[in-house]
Amino acid sequence: MTDATNNGGPVLAADGTPLKKSLAKALRLQKMRALGLIAPLLIFVMVSFIIPIGSMLFRSVENGLVSETLPLTVAELQQWNGDSSEPPGEEVFSAFVADMVVAIEAKNHTRLGTRLNYEKTGMSSLFRKSGRKIKNLDPAVDGPFKEKLIDIDKRWGDVETWRTIKTHSVGITNGYFLNAVDMRRTPEGAQSQPEDKQILITLFKRTLIMSLAITASCILLGYPVAWILANLPARTANILMILVLLPFWTSLLVRTSAWKVMLQQQGVINEVLVWLGMVPDDARLVMINNQFGTIVAMTHILLPFMILPMYSVMQTIQPTYLRAAKSMGATNWTAFWRVYFPLSVPGIGAGSILVFILSIGYYITPEIVGGTKGVFISNRIAYHISSSLNWGLAAALGAILLAVVLVLYWAYDKIVGIDNVKLG
């Protein structure tokens, strides 16, 4: 010990190796062991979560289809001035036919048509219809093609058609993101969608506003419950806690359907109100398939996520704080508002973040009880994934949703401080 510290050089361990080295060696073993323990989960998360999400997000900008299917055409189109009112020349048309013959052989041309149809209606049918006829052309001998194609379908003589192909021939595109915010990629740059196609911004706004409303009603309903639970003796609190957790024991679908039974016009609540004479029979309340129904059902479903963190934070607030405040002359309300409430804010914060993030991406409940007025952006994403098959747009919408959540999280951290979030 003495010679290790006295010679001024690096401190040595008992066997003569530098102390830092042997410490690192000792710690490395621990780190390896820790890594080994989390490895199964890490691999599982990588394979089942991070990689799929990453590839999905990549789809929101990936746009290889046009340039892969029509490589020669895209190369020739570079020479063509998209701003001119003249359709491109013969070289583009012959390149196009050559590309199309290959694509039709591989049955890729309909996919291309579908892809371009997102940008300009009618492209899908144009490609399908023309495909059948172009199949019979031989790119080597049948030229020139310009007139022939325009004969097949006069839209091939339309400058717009070629502009669309040229605009969307880039490999990485912002087109999906522009679509996701009700804009589109045009040869003249980004432009707003026509009025009748602008729905996504509205949906984003609605999703945010309704998620906030759901979070707020969860706070209002959950706070008193959490307070009661935290102030009851442990035995009673545990029994009541079972009631709070009871919804978790039933399937989400069952609970949502139950709300349908409760809220519909021939449902329990309306029947009772009519029977009591509080509502006339011919003017039953519309409480389902709209925003009200979605907010009610989702508040009920997400309420436990608000109560649990609030409860565990409130449990740690000593009752002597309130007594101390009252002994100093504070009324019940002042004692609550100045002392108890600030101490319970971390619980509200944790619950709100949970409920808000869960509800902003909620899908099944709005789908069942939301009708057309009460659906969320996630329902639109699901539609593009499974019905319209516009995965690029779905991915862009998902990426925006993710970004919004991250921004809100960041804002929360700035305003309240993430250290102030406690789950217990």
Partner: protein, 365 residues
């Protein structure tokens, strides 16, 4: 003395009872009155009802029966925040989300006091507990002793006439506790406030209080100044609870001229001061260890002495503590001052011990 206090009583408990479950009484028939400026300690083992009494006075518990008066008016139906009583809690209960200055400002703000008045009072209160530089800190950044001072300052900042303290020094280490005992007493007396202090630590009660109320089984067993409590306990519970005490059991044979002759269970006879016993009663005789004498020259002529065997001698520096077997009791302890001429008793030695009859109190069995 109690009669004089009755006239200008500031805090009064009259026939107060408290039950939590409707079956057993936690506080049984409590009568207590204290004058302005007194430092009264409620001392007792846990579960003796002392904290319940404090909470009833603060207004956090309601008396099941009886009257509690403050300055002559009954406060039974006045909510805690209107009683104007300062309180120091066991765990200090400083608000963790406020700075020290904000904590002290709280009672002044709820009284709608102006900003400049508040600042002056906060400064005065912090200086009073020598914590003037800590106003901007948060409670978690202070040590236990500093938090204790802040809690005290916060209870005093709105200048209450009555301050209640619920085992405020329980969480501190011994040295700090002794220092704070002195400071709290000093502060209470210099400000002239009335203090009710709850503790289970008898040393704390003895060193701090003007009077001590010893609680047991929901009743006050004795209410007296510390010296009287120690030297003249009213019953065997108080004698046992306060300080170190030797107990011998026997029967009162006769009482002559205020001196009782007690026959111990092994037949020995001793002279005692009868307190609450009559002829023929069983009694517990209580003698303080430092009042026992084994040097015959220092005892009065004709004093009854009894035989004892030395079991153990412990050197404690300032005193010697010797354990004896007396009348079949192996736990009989005597304390002697470490003086140049003091005898150090050897274990195994046979000696005779005696005492002044007035120091040996025959109490209820």
């Amino acid at each position: 003395m109690p009669d004089a206090a009755q006239n200008d009583a500031f805090v009064e408990f009259e026939r107060v009872q408290k039950s939590y479950d409707g079956e057993t009484l936690v506080v049984k028939d409590l009568n207590l009155s204290l004058p302005r400026g007194e430092f009264l300690t409620m001392l007792g083992p846990s579960g003796s009802g002392k904290t319940t009494c404090l909470m009833m006075l603060a207004g956090f518990e309601t008396a099941t029966h009886g009257d509690i008066r403050l300055g002559g008016t009954s406060i039974n139906n006045i909510p805690p925040h209107k009683r104007g009583i300062g309180m120091v809690f066991q765990n200090y209960a400083l608000f963790p989300h406020m700075t020290i200055a904000e904590n002290l400002s709280f009672p002044l703000e709820v009284r709608k006091m102006g900003k400049s008045d508040r600042e002056a009072k906060i400064k005065r209160a912090l200086d009073m507990v020598e914590m003037g530089a800590f106003g901007g800190r948060r409670p978690a950044q202070l040590s236990g002793g500093q938090q204790q001072r802040i809690a005290l300052a916060r209870a005093l900042v709105f200048e209450p006439e009555l301050v209640l303290m619920d085992e405020p020094l329980g969480a501190l280490d011994k040295q700090l506790r002794e220092k704070m005992q002195f400071e709290i007493t000093h502060l209470a007396h210099s400000l002239g406030i009335t203090t009710v202090y709850v503790t289970h630590d008898q040393t704390e009660a003895m060193t701090m209080s003007d009077r001590v109320a010893v609680f047991e089984d929901g009743r006050i067993q004795q209410l007296a100044p510390p010296d009287q409590l120690y030297e003249e306990p009213d019953n065997s519970f108080v004698a046992q609870f306060i300080g170190e005490n030797n107990t011998l059991e026997g029967v009162v044979k006769e009482i002559n001229n205020g001196i009782a002759l007690v026959q111990l269970d092994d037949g020995e006879l001793i002279d005692c001061n009868p307190i609450n016993v009559g002829v023929g009663d069983r009694t517990r005789v209580s003698i303080r260890p430092e009042r026992v004498e084994f040097n015959k020259d220092r005892l009065k002529e004709g004093t009854h002495t009894i035989k004892a065997e030395v079991l153990e001698f412990i050197y404690m520096g300032d005193i010697f503590r010797t354990r004896l077997r007396v009348a079949g009791n192996d736990e009989f302890v005597i304390k002697t001052r470490n003086a140049p001429d003091q005898v150090r008793l050897e274990p195994g030695a046979q000696i005779e011990i005696g005492w002044l009859p007035e120091d040996c109190r025959a109490l209820d069995a």
